[in-house]
């Protein structure tokens, strides 16, 4: 706009047609409306789930009580006490935490080596874990782990969730290490550090934000994983996504309880994501802008 005012009046229509400000005001109005629709479409279903979790099953069936109803905590007390949900919450946390930590231990050095020595083909081996459908591994895993008497224990769940977390961590950390200049390590080596010492004392502290990103995202994906736990968990090691199905039977569905259970699974991970928004977004978009 400033260039327009500096030029003679006769040039103005060529550079910035008169229509423009009006059109952009119309566009602004359109944009506000469009964004409101997008936000509503994304949040309303989640709000509906949370609302239903505070309704009795009678109220859920009543269309007149869609929004106005007497809230009840019965579903939550039901979920948390009768169905022993605290155990499942602990299971989910423990499996997600342990698998994330172990995957970071294996994945961060691997990503570093793959980035610095451009080991494309080796990286592909790890990323294959992301491409292969999980179902195709479940039968052999089930066979081996049940022979080892590991099915139903925590170790097999943690191993299988590491399989989800590790490729994610390697992918994110590779693009992070790619963006970290090699010169820092080289100058540290000139000052007398060994290559591994330079990695440990210079690169690793500098890549903490990247490690945070990878760790949080691995935790989220491990927390949300359903298929591996469905087959490999036992009655006492069930994770939350599997435990939800306790509310579904062939005969009927306890909708209130089910929605309370769904809320209990979803809310903790959402709260974590909201507090670590920056990291989650940069993890989900890692490697996207390099082309």
């Amino acid at each position: 706009m400033s260039t327009v005012t500096e030029l003679p009046e006769s040039f103005a229509p060529v550079l910035a047609p008169r229509r423009k400000p009006l059109r952009s005001r119309a566009y602004k109005a359109f944009r506000v409306c469009a964004l409101v629709v997008v936000v509503l479409a994304l949040l309303a279903p989640l709000a509906w789930m949370v609302l239903a979790s505070f309704k009795t099953n009678v109220d859920i069936y009543d269309a007149a009580k869609s929004l106005v109803f007497t809230p009840t905590f019965e579903n939550y007390s039901n979920v948390l006490q009768r169905n022993n949900y605290f155990v499942f919450i602990f299971n989910s946390f423990w499996v997600a935490f342990a698998s994330t930590l172990l995957s970071l231990l294996l994945g961060v050095p691997a990503a570093y080596a793959m980035s610095r020595f451009s080991m494309q083909r080796s990286a592909l081996v790890v990323l294959m874990a992301r491409i292969i459908p999980g179902v195709s591994l479940l039968v052999p895993w089930y066979y081996v782990f049940s022979n080892l008497r590991m099915v139903g224990g925590f170790s097999v769940l943690i191993l299988s969730h590491m399989f989800v977390a590790l490729p994610l961590i390697v992918y994110i950390m590779m693009s992070y290490f790619d963006s970290l200049p090699v010169e820092l390590e080289e100058s540290a080596q000139v000052d007398g550090l060994s290559p591994i010492g330079a990695f440990r004392l210079i690169t690793l502290p500098l890549s903490l934000p990247g490690i945070m990103t990878a760790g949080i995202l691995a935790f989220i994906f491990s927390w949300n994983n359903f298929m591996f736990a469905l087959v490999l968990s036992g009655a006492s090691t069930k994770t939350l996504p599997v435990a939800i199905f306790d509310f579904v039977s062939y005969a009927s569905i306890d909708w209130g309880g089910l929605m309370a259970a769904a809320t209990v699974v979803t809310i903790p991970i959402m709260v974590i994501a909201l507090f670590t928004q920056k990291y989650v977004v940069s993890g989900l978009t890692a490697g996207a802008t390099k082309g």
């Binding site: 050095p109 080596a113 491409i131 949300n224 769904a262 699974v265 991970i269």
Partner: protein, 307 residues
Amino acid sequence: MSVATAPARKTAGQSFSDWANAHRKWLFAAPAMIFVGILIIFPVAWTVYLSLTDASGSVRADSDFIGLENYLSVLTDTDRFWPAAGRTAYFTVTALAVEMVLGMCIALLLWRPFRGEKWVRVAILLPLVATPVAVGMMWRLIFDPNIGFANQMLGWVGIPPQPWLSGVESALPTTIFIDIWQWTPMIVLILLAGLTSLSEEPDEAARIDGANAWQRFWYVTLPLMMPTVIVAVLLRSIDALKTFDILYATKGKGGGSFNEVETLNIYAYGLSFDYNKYGLSSTVLILFFLIIVSIMFLLTRRRKGTP
């Protein structure tokens, strides 16, 4: 003694760290590769072997080697396999197409700064991190034919109730809708990251040349965004092909009583864990795996070809 051993211990320690430093490339990369390798290579080899046998009943039961018989019966199976493959393709292509177009529109809306940007970003993040099984259950309530909010809304505008997830025809489109709700935000985030890293000059130049908004998008922004678009397609198609949680949560084990939403993933799961036909399910899995790998191969080749 101490005089003699101290330097020796030191050289031993030193030589180990020298060795570690010299071999750090594989020392760092190998543990992760071995871990993933063991969890992949053996199962895949075993699946290939199982696909050549008539294994069924129990994983431990004896089975006979029957050569390519399974492959023949799967590839000629127009009852379950090909419809499931068709549904997989339909699900992936439709979901991906809608998610890309919608994602691009929303990313463009968010491109230029505005007030309340933070709130919109929060709204975009929430479906992405919501547990897919819970999301499936949530939509199952909303789409319930009798008590669901979707039909209540239709009632307000006088449209008769729809069967949604329980209809043979409507079940798959409804699950695609759920997938779109959950995963369009991811496309938005990726494309937005690409848009913000674009330089302003080409757009400005086109503006001065008199290009309208649509022309600037189609001839300037979109070509520049192609690498990011391909990354988004690649990442999303990998997951869309394997969709399991939402289908299982909304329709149950076999993809519904009429197999309305039975994709290759659901079909293979059912064959393995409901019917225990391990030979046959292994064959389906090998074919499914080959399809996925060849699609990835084609997409990544395309990606390298772009400037």
